[in-house]
């Protein structure tokens, strides 16, 4: 039975970048991903940078995969990991067909969507915005004749542009109606505030939209008070901050949606119902770190609104408090693919250092890689939350606290 130096779970930007670093340091690694193509969510991405250039995720993903292949990286696709078992100083990564024994694991499983439930959302023709992105950009399947997007945020705006580029007709973007689960996503004040704060970092067209609302609260209040009845147009599609979706209608599949007017606080205006014919609905409820495997292997967690939910506790070196378990990419917090890629480099180098006979040389590279993560974060075009650095600092502090507690425990044991 062979023992790997590292098993990398996830062949997205983080996993592939980590694998490249491991292979450059001659480590014996295998990359596993359940999707039939490498690249993860990079595959769906296509947007225009503020400087006018285009970010094409498919090309970025190809570049990483080619480099990994040149280094003879063992990449296995269509393989689902369902469990990580802990042995003495080793782990067994369980997949449907094979089990891999390894000294280290990098969990780079990315994020999952959290679509807001809407009455009627189980009808065929309703999908998460990410599903619409994959169907359009990866499978090249037209998702429908005419659709509507529920949820107004950076991610849904970026994907709306992609759908527009693919020639898909969108009626509009609206808010989810206020209820127990939609929370702040249904509050026009919160949405406009978020949009104005990320506007300077968003793809070019979106800047023009977001910056309309400026940073001043009074301007936002005015904008909401006098928000145009026909919405503000972006890519020929109106964005409605004062309309919400109440219900999705249809018998066998989506036939229409019921929209309502909402106040500046998101309260539904009575008798304002309006029925709009569409044949598909995309729900954009945001992303959360997909950390199931980190939970199974026993990583402690921290809740961070800034990072998108519960994240496994880790440090800047992408180490978790469990020796041999590393994390990288969106599992550590929702950020752009470019940040994920830099984090993958850090995780790969951390393992290379651990397994190396001359760790000092790698330490130098590792420090540079850690700095690159921060620089990339600062320059990121798409920033999902305005306070990401704060969330990051809290998670690092939680890591230090756990390590300190472990040291105290060991000292106590020695004394007794």
């Amino acid at each position: 039975m062979q023992v790997y130096d590292a098993v990398i779970i996830g062949a997205g930007p983080a996993g592939l970048a980590a694998a490249i670093q491991c292979r450059e340091n001659n480590l014996n690694v295998v990359v596993l991903d359940e999707y039939p193509k490498a690249g993860g969510r990079l595959l769906g991405q296509l947007y225009q940078e503020p400087d006018g250039t285009w970010w094409n995720g498919i090309e970025e993903s190809k570049a990483l995969e080619t480099k990994a292949e040149q280094l003879d990286t063992d990449i296995r696709l269509g393989v689902s990991v369902h469990h990580i078992e802990t042995l003495d100083n080793q782990f067994v990564v369980h997949t449907k067909k094979e089990n891999f024994t390894t000294k280290n694991v990098i969990i780079a499983t990315g994020a999952a969507e959290s679509p807001v439930p809407v009455p009627g959302w189980t009808l065929p023709g309703v999908m998460s915005i990410g599903a619409a992105q994959v169907m359009t950009n990866v499978h090249r399947v037209k998702v429908g004749e005419k659709g509507i997007i529920v949820g107004i945020n950076v991610l849904s705006a970026a994907i709306a542009q992609e759908l527009h580029l693919a020639g898909i007709e969108l009626h509009s973007m609206v808010l989810p109606a206020k209820h127990i689960i939609s929370g702040e996503q249904a509050n026009p004040r919160k949405v406009i505030d978020d949009l104005s704060r990320v506007a300077h970092l968003a793809p070019s067209k979106f800047i023009q939209f977001g910056s309309k609302f400026a940073k001043y609260k009074w301007a936002q209040n005015l904008a909401l008070q006098f928000y145009p009845k026909n919405g503000i147009k972006m890519w020929e599609m109106p964005i409605h901050l004062r309309k919400a979706i109440k219900q999705i209608n249809g018998t066998e599949k989506v036939e229409s949606v019921t929209l309502v007017d909402v106040t500046a606080d998101g309260e539904i205006v009575e008798h304002s119902e309006e029925e709009v014919q569409v044949d598909f609905v995309c729900i954009a409820g945001g992303l959360y770190p997909l950390a199931e495997l980190a939970a199974v292997v026993g990583c402690p967690f921290q809740y961070s609104e800034e990072l998108g939910g519960h994240v496994p506790i880790h440090n800047e070196r992408m180490e978790t408090p469990i020796p041999g378990i590393y994390v990288a990419g969106n599992i550590t917090g929702i950020e752009s693919a470019k940040v994920a890629r830099e984090q993958g480099i850090v995780a790969g180098l951390s393992i290379a250092k651990k397994e190396s006979d001359s760790p000092d040389i790698i330490e130098e590279k590792l420090q540079t890689a850690i700095e690159n993560v921060k620089a990339t974060r600062k320059a990121a075009t798409i920033q999902f939350h305005p306070n990401i650095p704060e969330g990051r600092a809290n998670v690092s502090a939680a890591f230090s606290k756990i390590i300190d507690e472990q040291k105290t425990e060991t000292t106590k044991e020695k004394i007794s």
Partner: protein
Amino acid sequence: MKDTIICRCEEVTLGELEELAKKHHSSARELKLLSRAGMGFCGGRTCRQAVDRVLTSITKKDPTDALPLKVAPPVRPMSLVDLGGAAKDE
């Protein structure tokens, strides 16, 4: 909204979740076991966040650092044949 399905795999509605949570003053875990929400084919991947939000809004408590719903292997849908030792060590 009460009739809206939250957990699609087990077909649990918002109304059922609210009623159970209020009646039994449930924790997230208890609510999961009482309703089966999050215990279906997808292992809670789709509804975990929504179920959490129902709870935090009913109990008026902010999310804690601990994961509200325990995660247990297998984390992906598996056939019994694959689980039953057919997997080979590499």
